[in-house]
Amino acid sequence: MYRSHRSVVGLCVAVLCALLEACTGANVQMEGEIPTPLVNRLPIRVGLYLEPALVQYVFEEKILDHGDWRVEVGQMQAKLFHKIGAAMFLEAVQVDSVAPNRADLDAVLAPSIAEFQISIPSQTRSDFYEVWIKYTMRLYDTHGTLIAQWPLTAYGKANKEDFGFLDNSDKLAIRQATKTALRDAAAFLSLRFATVPEVKAWLNSRGSTATSGGAT
């Protein structure tokens, strides 16, 4: 009888813990790979300046009644931009500043995160966890003169129905939505880079539009 009491108490504690867990938000460390974009290479050599604020970016928000939400997205940024750069350009190498003064490079691409937002199903009364990442993209010449600046907005979502009633469903869903947003950023940068008006004009001035950036 004593053992069955312990079982019932244990069950109640487990259920309570599961319920509390569901209210405490999520702490997500992003990992994984971004596929190599299937795009035509632009005939330019580019330096990638990945500022510390980008590669160490951590999103934190306290959502009323839904706990603390934290997404460590910084370490994926280096993977993301190196993977895209290697596919989009003849060469993409990391540089230490926006003005590396290197004769072997044509330009420097410097992304930064301007804004990161999440929403959870209880906020939007939908089935979806959503993530928005607003990047500011800047392209400089190798002396640090700005050639172009444009916003790149990435969006990802995950359906809560795909994650069931697992204790860590919040974490898994936000990770999936963030991963989709990162892929979205990679997709739009690789497909639209050469169509940004200032970039297009710069490429035209160099006669570099022959195999322009993926979308034809």
């Binding site: 190599t36 974009p37 299937l38 795009v39 795909d162 979205d184 739009f188």
Partner: protein
Amino acid sequence: MKPMRLSCALIAAAATLSSISGCVTTTVQEIRQASTGIASNESVVVLGRHNNQADESEDEFIHCVSNNLAGGDKKVGVISESAFVDAMFPWFEPRTAPLNTSDLPQIVNQPILADKLDSIGVRYVIWIEGNTHRTSQGGALSCSVTVAGAGCFGFLTWENDSSYEASVWDIKHGTAVGKVSSDANGTSYMPAVIVPIPFIARVQSGACNSMASQLKVFITKES
């Protein structure tokens, strides 16, 4: 010891009865726009539409249709959604995927993409839209735990409705070859006298099985 035996008997009865599922009614329709057929070295991919939240299909349904196409009678070669989308990145992402067959030439006419499609051998892309939702529910059920034991009493009932449509595109020719729709509905029951006994109508599974069977016939039938 007697209460223990009674509990075991009730649990065994519940387990047995829960294998009896509720009834599901399924309707499948097909619209053919062009002839089909698939070679042994060709495959299909089943993709969910992710650009419209209202009609977004569950991953579980996409996997179910893929698995059913890849198994049983008249099975066809299937490449998984994730493998295909990764291989074709970034052309089949939620915001970049072609919405109409008129968008296909932009993809299949690019040598780098045509080569990739050839290498993975995909002949048909099957786009799935639709979902399963609860249309009605009723009844009440309460459970309690005391020092003497635990139990539930009551009756629950709910009705689910599935509605899915598959659009089949022939990637090789850049055309839409037809559509298969699958609608299913069913009512589930859960009476509870100490132990709840669910009679689950597997509506989504019914819609998946029907759609996959019809898709197999649709794709392999050379007409």
